[in-house]
Amino acid sequence: MIEVTQQTRSGWCVVEVRGRADAEAADRLEETLRAALEGHPKVAADFSALDYISSAGIRAVLQAARAAEGRGAEFAVCSLSAPVRKVFDTSGLHHVLKIHGELPC
């Protein structure tokens, strides 16, 4: 289960995701990020309060990033929580995603 909030700051649409991004939440996560990308040229996914991400959650983030590429939009994944950072490091996601230590705005 995830909770999502969205706000616009300094030209960035910041999507804060809380909770567990697993198979049950993956579709909602991808849809939320894609919807944000449709309305904004710059989207930051704030994962500071994301406690857990599974393979299904990672696929959702990757497909949102793919959608951003297709639109020529900027998509950054920011402020990873410790457990999520561990998963990202294991998967080598820094090779394919823009990962920021802090929010860009």
Binding site: D22, A23, E24, A26, Y52, I53, S54, S55, A56, I58, R59, L62, Q63, A65, R66, E69, K86, V87, T90, S91, G92, L93, H95, V96
Partner: protein, 216 residues
């Protein structure tokens, strides 16, 4: 839409001869188990994290192979890691390749031919009846490796399964594979299932090397 298992087996069929080709027999057997897990993950029946595998939904998929594996997993809750399940299905000697071939024949994508070699030995061939399907899988594999963008989920899975099967060489030249080695490794590393398939193959290789050293 074909399953990941069917796509990998289709990729392994030599379009000219109808024979199955693979340069890494055990690698292929492990990768086919990985393909089944990817199919179950795409259908939201299972999910994985860096180690564990979790069953989300045991309702039937309509695919006999996937349903049999899913039911088997539901009946063994004591096995919880991706690695344990890869080994369990691998050592169960399930004929995943044969089931995928049968399905591809039913779909009219392959034909089944039997002949005799030296009038005695049965030889099976699976000539391609619908070459467009195989060409599409090959093209997706090439694009995923040669482009710099983020591939579709299924194409990431395809690369990460084709690599341990030794099937990349049927879609790409040796020079292309060498030039894109980092990209292939990056895509293959993204998914827990393919990381564990690679680890299982490495473990088997090490065991076989130790066994050979004892014999010699």
């Amino acid at each position: 839409m074909l399953t990941m298992l069917e796509e990998i087996v289709l990729l392994a069929v030599d379009e000219q001869t109808g024979h199955l080709r693979s340069t890494r027999q055990f690698g292929t057997a492990y990768a086919l188990v990985g393909a089944v897990f990817f199919d179950l993950a795409l259908l939201r029946k299972i999910d994985t994290d860096t180690e564990a595998i979790r069953i989300i939904d045991t309702s039937p998929t309509g695919n006999a192979t996937l349903d049999r594996i899913l039911a088997g997993m539901a009946a063994r809750p004591q096995l919880t890691t991706v690695r344990e399940w890869i080994e369990e299905i691998f050592h169960g000697r399930q004929d995943l390749e044969g089931e995928a071939l049968a399905s591809l024949i039913r779909h009219g994508i392959l034909r089944h031919e039997k002949s005799k070699l030296l009038w005695i030995i049965d030889v099976e061939r699976f000539p391609v009846a619908d070459s467009q399907r195989q060409r599409l899988v090959t093209l997706r594999l090439r694009d995923a490796v040669l482009s710099d963008g983020i591939p579709d989920t299924r194409d990431i899975m395809l690369v990460s399964l084709a690599e341990p099967c030794g099937l990349l060489g049927y879609a790409l030249t040796e020079a292309q594979i060498a030039a894109r080695r980092q990209r292939i490794e990056t895509l293959s590393n993204l998914e827990t299932i393919s990381r564990k398939v690679t680890a299982a193959i490495a473990g088997l290789d090490a065991t076989m090397r130790q066994a050979m050293a004892k014999i010699v």
